[in-house]
Amino acid sequence: MIPRHLIIAVAILLAITLGMSLYVWRMRGRVDRIEVSTIDTQPVAPPVAGASEQVTLYVAYDDAGVLRPKSVRIPLPVGRQERAAEILRALLPIYEDQFSPHPLAPGSEIRDVYLVDPGLAVIDLNAAFADNHRSGVLVEELTIVSLVQTLSANIPGITRVKILVEGRDRDTLAGHADLSNFYDVPAVTQAVAQLQNAQ
């Protein structure tokens, strides 16, 4: 005959074990959710206040494999560097839209744009932009020429563009388009002209 107090003690221990297991199980799920949310999927820049101005965005279209200019009015800050960043960020809602002509991964962001005289612009993308970008020569090229062409068309004086990811050099965007070198704006303009002619 097992003593009654022993049965009660074992039952309490089993209940505690079960309770702890449930608690650990729930905490593990919560940690998974926290880890997912720490991937940079949120906008990194605050909303911009300033007078609305008309700018020309060069939007990539995968189907035809071309860039098409699109005029939009967006609020722009006064500083040249901040304006450059905001103009590029205006491309992202188009690319992240459900019916995007050139889909980019959710959470893709322009972290910053730095203008270094004479004529150099440095575009810093976030990790989600590059890590989750579709892989292919044309799709990667369209993204790059869209950024470079939009920037050079709206910010006068830019002759060269360098693209970084999370502030660091990277060999390619997603396995193809070269990010290790500087982009000459005249050379990119020539490549864009070729894209338009070849459609």
Binding site: D62, G136, V137, L138, T172, A177, D178, A191, Q199
Partner: protein
């Protein structure tokens, strides 16, 4: 900034006749040559030592002091672990982890781990920097490190622990013969070719000689190879009676050296141009102009090994389709009398620089790089997006803009391919792309991005589709052969 091969400096000989050069011009030329020779002789190669260890492989400059070779002790140990140094009057106290050493400027006796150690020449102290004679490293370092060190003073190569990379070399009995070199660790030598020789410089690998420094093979084509060590680097020179090309396999652990593909007899069809007669091989069996004029293609299946490329479907990786297509293209080019070399014929990893370097040293008439994509349809033919403000320096071309002088030729070839694809009812576009290594290649260079014929991505793996595209591309290359040959 990296630099590629120098541009030809001299105009074609024969344009200037000797009769037009006056005595003054001859004297001026002679004085320039004399001055150049003196200048070259007065600037010897910088002496260096290379240290190989499990922590790092690194190279340091060797200093000349009082007729002896010296080295900074702090620089020697810094990559190996935690080091500190403190100057106190003529004393220089050096600490590696918890091992203390005490050196005195102008003295040959030092204290290491509490016991005396005699240097072969005086210790020098220069602005807080402690210099020891180079020759003592073989005995000084084991005392401080507490482990074995092998120092080859003549070649200035020092091995800390068991880090040496060994290799075997064997010539296969195939036709043509292949020299297969297997290394115990991945290697990435700088490869250069010259008439009758292929040189591999191992600047960062702890490569050591096999039993003998001279390797002889039972082959008339590749009779021998020589291992040399000098100034902190190792070099393997493979001798041959024909031009050679090297390719990598087994993730850099194997190097295969074989003759550059010979021109083969073309299929006797009216539409295919016949290859030009190759220059006769001289008494030495080696003729540089012949190798330069030899017409062949290099096909580069992109990605490979660790680098899968794009995931085309759940199971289909870009690297596998590029290789399959490249093999079909090689077959189609061979049928049209164009010998073809694949940069990789297996699942091996090659860096972009390696691809460019192998291609440039082989000097093909055309380089074709293969990519595959699930987006769009048909074939996209790319030429390089080369920076317009390339920083060329005198006779040297910027590595990143080495393609500049070949852009027109590449576009001519690209247009030929697109026209041929159109004639076979295959959708094709000619584009410019920022795609390495196109901009590093010093010959006509194209990249093909092959998309499925329709929205069905699985078609990319279809032998029928690959065959039709490869046949059109090969026909396009054959069509532009005369332009490519004229440019050579």
């Amino acid at each position: 900034m990296r630099w590629s091969k120098p541009r030809p400096l001299a105009p074609p000989s024969g344009r200037l006749s000797r009769g037009r050069l006056g005595p003054a011009a001859l004297a001026f030329t002679a004085s320039i040559l004399l001055a150049s020779t003196l200048l070259l002789n007065s600037s010897p190669e910088e002496k260096r030592i290379t240290i190989y260890s499990n922590a790092a492989n690194y190279s340091l400059p060797v200093l000349e002091r009082n007729g002896d070779e010296y080295i900074g002790l702090l620089e020697v140990f810094e990559p190996l672990g935690s080091v500190t140094a403190k100057t106190n009057g003529p004393h220089w106290k050096f600490r590696y982890y918890d091992i203390d050493s005490d050196f005195t400027a102008g003295k040959t006796r030092a204290r290491i781990r509490g016991s005396d150690y005699d240097l072969p020449a005086s210790f020098l102290l220069e602005n807080g920097r402690g210099l020891v004679p180079l020759s003592c490293l073989g005995t000084l370092m084991p005392r401080i490190l507490g482990g074995p060190v092998t120092f080859n003073q003549n070649s200035r190569r020092l091995f800390v622990g068991n880090v040496a990379v060994h290799f075997t070399a064997q010539v296969s009995k195939t036709t043509p013969p292949k020299l297969v070199m297997n290394f115990t660790a991945p290697v990435n030598p700088m490869i250069a070719t010259e008439p009758g020789k292929l040189r591999m410089a191992f600047n960062h690998e702890a490569l050591v000689a096999p039993g003998s420094q001279a390797l002889t093979f039972d082959s008339k084509v590749i009779p021998d190879a020589t291992f040399r060590e000098n100034n902190g680097a190792a070099e393997l020179v493979v001798a041959a009676t024909v031009p050679l090309i090297a390719s990598f396999a087994n993730n850099g652990r194997t190097i295969i050296i074989e003759p550059v593909p010979q021109a083969v007899a073309p299929t006797p069809t009216a539409s295919v141009p016949r290859p030009p007669p190759t220059a006769s091989i001289g008494p030495s069996g080696i003729s540089a102009p012949a190798s330069i004029r030899r017409y062949f293609a290099v096909v580069d299946p992109s990605h490979g090994g660790d680098e899968r490329g794009a995931s085309l479907t759940g199971q289909l990786a870009e690297k596998d389709v590029t290789l399959a297509f490249a093999r079909v293209l090689r077959q189609e080019l061979n049928i049209r009398g164009i010998p073809t070399l694949l940069l990789r014929d297996g699942d091996s990893t090659l860096s972009l620089d390696q691809r460019a370097s192998l291609t440039n040293s082989a000097r093909p008439a055309i380089y074709i790089c293969i990519h595959v994509a699930s987006q769009g349809n048909g074939v996209r033919v790319y030429t390089a997006l080369v920076p317009t403000q390339a920083e060329n320096n005198g006779p040297f071309l910027s590595w990143d803009a080495a393609q500049t002088t070949f852009q027109l030729l590449s576009r001519t070839a690209g247009n030929g391919l697109v026209a041929e694809l159109h004639s076979k009812q295959i959708a094709a576009r000619s584009l410019i792309a920022p795609l390495r290594p196109l901009n590093n290649i010093t010959t006509a260079a194209l990249a093909l991005e092959i998309a499925p014929p329709s929205s069905d991505v699985a078609q990319l793996d279809s032998p029928a589709y690959q065959q039709s595209v490869a046949a059109a591309v090969a026909a396009g290359v054959a069509d532009v052969r005369s332009q490519l040959e004229a440019a050579r």
